[in-house]
Amino acid sequence: MFLKKLFKRTAEKIELHDIQAIILRDRPLPYHGVNVFLEILHTASAKAFLKEIVPYVTNAQNWWDNDNAWLSIAFTYEGLKKLELPQSTIESFPDAFKKGMAARSEKLMDINENAPEKWDAVFKTAGNHIAVSIIAKNMDDLNSKKALALQVLEKHQGVKLCFQADFDTPIEGNFNHFGFRDGISNPEIEGSGAEQLNSKERPIKAGEFIMGYNNEAGNYYPMPQPMEFAKNGTFVIFRKYHSHVAAFNRYLKEQAKNKDEQELLAAKMIGRWRSGAPLNMCPFKDNSALGADATKNNDFDFSNDQNGKLVPYSSHMRRMNPRNSKMAVMSDVNLHRIIRKGVGYGPALPNGSTKDDGKERGLYFIAFSAKAMETLEFLQREWVNSGNFMSLKNEKDPVIGLNEGKGTFTLPGEPLPKRFTGMPTFNTLKGGMYLFMPGINAIKWLSEL
């Protein structure tokens, strides 16, 4: 198997058996899954539920021998309080985690059309305590794991299912709703045993992503105490985006004369062609073989394009990982990486349609970092909703920026740049929360408290 070949057992340095699989392992492609939120009505019953579900939680070791469906569990701050963790542990969580994503909306630039007041009702209730997610490579695996989990849940009346959302690969062949190949670039984590797919990046210290290991500064980020509880855990960013695919298609049509120009503009906004082929490796025409080749489609940096003429500084891909770009503001790119395991939801819009069918579709953005709250605030303020770091004033990310019909997008050119204006927000935030995803031993520990 291709992925198995890439996994080198000898390079393992972190406790894979205790780390939940979804954090480190590439999710299956295509994928099928479900996200569930549970409310804790009775603490003792919730602990009994956890004790019984722990054996089904998938770890990151020997992952190809595991079930073909991964189950992961994470907790909101309210949930951890309900579980009656020791007061000293509860208090030791970082402030932004305690306050929650909605309360930090100003810091996150989650304002105006993205403001918490406009979120789906389920994200406004206090009842989201435990999040369970199952992700599988086919429906049979998903259904059997789901049935197992439901059996456990039904035995424990003190835990109530309050939200369930199915998700699926949006477009056959692993494409997202906008028609671009999904799930390409993730940071390589030191000691995780995965082979490096980008020869120009070095592996990032595990402590940036998993608690209990050294970070890039040779230190630990603030984490819940005691260390034994935090070890092998991480923080989760969960954000639901509504994707306005028709508006995206419409914008391309309005701004570009013909199909080729539209495709080029779309690629410039993303940084890759629809196939996943990076623009700086094939600037003029999509290359679907390159796009589909996981060993090649992420093996680059921007040293061949310091002026952004191939991949604009403002493109989504370059903003989210500037890879050796000369930036106007000093920043350490390795500090602002996150592990992304986003999944799409909702039916696909017919190819190229410019008319909205009113159906809900979009992305559950799921990401992991040992300092998730700080990283998300940095990304949202500095790289998504500002252009200052690459000397483009207030220009925002064309894909996930809060553009509200006033967005601009600058394409460096010869001799003058070309500027696209009047860009709407293509992904509206419909809700979000921070979760703590403990190591497997830590779940056992808290189920036995």
Binding site: E216, A217, G218, N219, Y220, Y221, P222, M327, A328, V329, M330, S331, D332, N334, L335, K371, E374, E377, F378, R381, E382, S386, N388, F389, S391, K393
Partner: protein, 180 residues
């Protein structure tokens, strides 16, 4: 408040009005809070600290500044820093540090810890209680020492360092073009 105080205050306000000839206040120069401490004006923020120096602190810092001949060009590397100044107070026992920078201070602290840790510790290691730039408590430490300015004026609150650099380049390019 007594009548005398009220009269005095009214008099002061009248004098201020006359001194500024009733000029309307420009909204662009409004200041807001820069977060947990400090003021923000447009894209820019101020940070002011008065803190105790370690016994050899002033001597060490003077040596650093003299070696650099007062030229702190290295700070350009940061890219968000407009100015900074170091002033020794009370017989070299205290330090006044003032700076003006773009955006949020704390968003980039982690970057200092990996990009220029030696420089940060070489300078700020001379103040009492400095936990080290790599310490998880460094942000709290800075915040605890920060004094928010009571008033602050910036002439171009919407021009970041990056903007100024770009405009300087455009200006130079344009001049070159005109000379040809």
């Amino acid at each position: 408040m007594n009548i005398k105080q009220l009269t005095q205050d009214a008099g002061l306000k009248l004098k201020l009005y006359l001194a500024t000839l009733g000029e309307p206040l420009d909204k662009a120069h409004e200041v807001t809070s820069a977060g947990d401490a400090g003021l923000r004006s447009g894209e820019l923020s101020e940070l002011t600290i008065i803190t105790d120096l370690k016994p050899d602190g002033a001597r060490n810092l003077r040596l650093i500044f003299e070696t650099l001949k007062g030229n702190l060009t290295g700070a350009r590397k940061v890219g968000t820093l407009h100015d900074m100044r170091f002033v020794f107070l009370e017989n070299d026992t205290k330090l006044l540090f003032c700076t003006c920078y773009d955006g949020d201070w704390d968003t980039y602290i982690n970057d200092f810890a990996t990009k220029i840790p030696e420089m940060m510790d070489l300078i700020f290691g001379n103040i009492e209680g400095w936990p080290g730039i790599k310490s998880p408590t460094v942000k709290e430490f800075i915040l605890s020492k920060q004094i928010t300015a009571s008033a602050w004026f910036v002439s171009h609150p919407n021009l970041t360092v990056a903007d100024t650099t770009r405009l300087e380049k455009i200006g130079a390019g344009l001049n070159k073009l005109l000379e040809l």
